[in-house]
């Protein structure tokens, strides 16, 4: 017994003592499934970076790669000051917010010579007009995915497909407030970054009108639902359509004519970073041709880098996978209004969140459930009181 305890403690101690020798650690915090990680025969970018550091720079580096599911999760983790990260990859509006709150460090472009490969269209964007804090990683647009066997040809082309009574119970909607309200506001040609209360309330009304037609509010569940044909139409990101099309050839995609969302995810260095130079080295590495192509092929979103878009290997691989790839990821002459999500001020955010909660919670529980449970509780309470009283009477007797 004693020997067992000693053995257990020894094992615990060994687990605790990782090698804290001269190897440097780089803490990277990224979206889930957003880097080529070696699965399904792809390149393992983090391992390649560690090898590159060892061979080219002579440094022993360990990459601590952790993931998050939303910008807000990442923001809360960093804001609470509880952990330090060297490289993070937020979306456009979150970068705007973090710059305003002094949470990002300025980049030293001497260490990022590969920045020249970034396409001019993705420099000087609204959230970082002087490109001091961020380097674009991927970008994309929201569009509508539909199953051509379940949807008639004349109903496509607009956001209204998602409000079409004909497809009641087969429509999916985003399960996060920003994107869901976005679909409603884009469909009436409004400004998704407005502070006008009336616009938000109209959008909430429109979403409420849509609720009886919606099969469910989804994020990643959309892949399965569209792939096995349980839903007919859904809004989602362009690159993810390509992944879904792989499994179900009858899925098709279009950008709605009233306008849609464009987003950019960029690499930044937060102010809590410990290894700024190594972080810049990592960012530079991600911009190099082979790595950027591997990432772009794995994630299947659009790449803002010229050395990827013009690369024949990339174009050949992607077109072999799906012939419409270049038209969907890099549409020319789109002719449709695209708008970025910008950081909303706190009043509008509060309004958006409360409208979203009202939408989700309303009618969630039918009144008969309340009545039945209340009557059951009353029944049980009366039975207990009755038996208690009888017991007291018997004791006194």
């Amino acid at each position: 017994m004693r020997k067992l305890i000693i053995l257990l403690f020894a094992v615990l101690l060994l687990c605790g003592c990782e090698n804290t020798s001269e190897s440097l650690t780089l803490n990277v915090y990224n979206w889930g499934e957003y880097i080529s990680d070696g699965s399904e025969g792809t390149l393992n970018v983090n391992e390649e970076f560690e090898n590159y550091c060892l061979e080219e720079l002579g440094k022993e580096v360990k990459v601590n790669y952790t993931t998050y599911a939303s910008n807000e999760d990442m923001y809360n983790k960093i804001k609470s000051g509880s952990a330090s990260y060297d490289v993070i990859i937020p979306s456009d509006y979150m970068i705007e917010k973090m710059i305003a709150e002094d949470m990002l460090l300025k980049l030293d472009y001497e260490n990022i010579p590969n920045y020249e490969f970034v396409n001019e269209d993705y420099k000087d964007l609204f959230f970082d007009p002087d490109n001091e804090y961020s380097v674009p990683y991927t970008y994309g647009m929201v569009g509508i995915i539909y199953n051509e066997e379940m949807v008639d040809k004349e109903d496509i082309g607009s956001w209204e497909l998602l409000w079409n009574e004909k497809y009641k119970g087969q429509i999916l909607q985003f399960n996060n407030p920003r994107d869901a309200f976005g679909t409603a506001i884009y469909s009436v040609g409004g400004d998704v970054n407005t502070t006008d209360v009336a616009v938000w309330e109209n959008a909430a009304e429109k979403l409420k009108a849509q609720k009886p037609l919606v099969q469910s509010y989804v994020m990643d569940e959309i892949f399965n639902k569209m792939k096995n044909g349980s839903a007919a139409a859904a809004p989602y990101y362009a690159g993810d359509y390509l992944t879904m099309h792989d499994s179900n050839e009858s899925l098709k995609f279009y950008f709605p004519k009233e306008g849609t969302n464009i987003f950019v995810d960029s690499m930044c260095i937060p102010s809590c970073a410990r290894n700024k130079e190594l972080a810049e080295e990592y960012i530079n590495f991600m911009l190099s041709e082979d790595i950027a192509i591997a990432n772009a092929e794995y994630i299947a979103y659009s790449s803002p880098l010229d050395n990827v878009r013009k690369s024949e290997t990339y174009i050949a691989d992607m077109t072999e996978w799906n012939e419409e790839v270049m038209d969907i990821l890099y549409p020319e002459n789109l002719g449709i209004r695209t708008q970025y999500y910008e950081n909303l001020d706190s009043d509008t955010l509060l309004l958006q969140n409360s409208l979203w909660e009202t939408l989700k919670i309303e009618n969630a529980v039918e009144p008969w459930v309340y009545i039945t449970s209340l009557s059951i509780i009353l029944l049980l309470a009366s039975i207990m009181m009755y038996s208690y009283i009888i017991k007291k009477i018997r004791d006194n007797y």
């Binding site: 017994m1 257990l8 615990l12 687990c15 605790g16 650690t25 803490n27 915090y29 979206w31 889930g32 499934e33 957003y34 990680d37 070696g38 699965s39 399904e40 393992n44 391992e47 601590n64 790669y65 952790t66 993931t67 998050y68 599911a69 939303s70 609470s80 000051g81 509880s82 952990a83 330090s84 990260y85 994020m219 990643d220 892949f223 399965n224 792939k227 096995n228 044909g229 349980s230 993810d240 992944t243 499994s247 179900n248 410990r274």
Partner: protein, 269 residues
């Protein structure tokens, strides 16, 4: 009436286990489609072994679960023995109510309050990494403790109080009598407390989410971060392997306990 109750039990078991069986079935699917079975293949198992992130998360989760359940079992058993030895009723009932608080607290309250506590202490101590494996371990031990105490205490109450006294009469020191007489009697409670703590720690998401650092990602956190894009079926393969491992362990422990009671009965005869 007997057949009705048998049907009822069968129904309950079906509802409990069908999701697990579907998961195991689709882990052998040759594509990522969860609507149709396209063919038997071990592709996702091979993928699982190729994916360093998933393996890292699994290793982290297991290390955390084993350490947290071991530490909380040791502390919990000692606590249960100590609480039972108190003479005044008020002390005993206060301690028991305090023990119940972490159980009744919603996970999110525990998670956020622990995170605030660790950041506060970290700021005072000027430590670089305020959250990490240590803080995660402390958080897990603290929410596993009440369950261990709750498992061990009934066994202590059931035990014949005369036994340790008899051992001491025969020359044991109190510590020796605890280890040689009391502990074997309450061992089944300790083991079930350990298993309960292990399961809770393995499964926990909310508290881990708030108290982990930048280098320790557990499996639930990894799977949650995949929810914007797809959850790949190598996770199904991983879950199948974990379920099989747990089932094998349970079966083995049941067999060994049956053998022990059979041995004991034979020895008494």
């Amino acid at each position: 009436m007997k057949t009705v109750s048998k049907i009822y039990v069968a129904l309950v078991f079906t509802i409990l286990y069908i999701p697990i069986l579907v998961l195991m079935l689709f882990s052998f699917n040759s594509t990522a489609n969860t609507g149709a079975l396209t063919g038997f293949s071990l592709y996702w198992y091979k993928e699982l072994f190729n994916s360093p992130d998933t393996f890292n998360a699994l290793k982290n989760t297991l290390v955390l679960a084993i350490s947290a359940s071991t530490i909380s079992t040791i502390i919990g058993t000692a606590a249960a023995v100590g609480i039972t030895k108190f003479k005044t009723r008020i002390t005993k009932s206060t301690l028991l109510s305090v023990t119940n608080i972490p159980m009744m607290n919603p996970d999110i309250v525990t998670g956020i309050s622990m995170m605030l506590l660790f950041v506060f202490i970290g700021t005072i101590l000027r430590s670089e990494d305020k959250l990490g494996f240590g803080t995660l371990l402390i958080a897990h031990v603290s929410f596993c403790l009440p369950y261990v105490i709750l498992s061990v205490r009934p066994k202590i109450l059931q035990m014949n109080k005369a036994l340790p006294e008899a051992a001491m009469d025969l020359g044991c020191t109190p510590i020796q009598s605890f280890f040689k007489v009391e502990l074997p009697n309450i061992m089944s409670g300790v083991v079930s407390g350990f298993i309960l703590a292990f399961t809770l720690s393995l499964d926990d998401f909310v508290i881990s989410y708030f108290t982990t650092g930048n280098d320790f990602q557990t499996l639930p956190l990894l799977i949650y971060s995949m929810t914007k894009k797809e959850v790949k079926p190598d996770i199904y393969a991983l879950s199948t392997l974990m379920i099989v491992a747990v089932t094998v362990l349970m079966v083995l422990s049941n067999i060994s306990s049956k053998e022990k009671t059979a041995d004991r009965k034979a020895a008494l005869k």
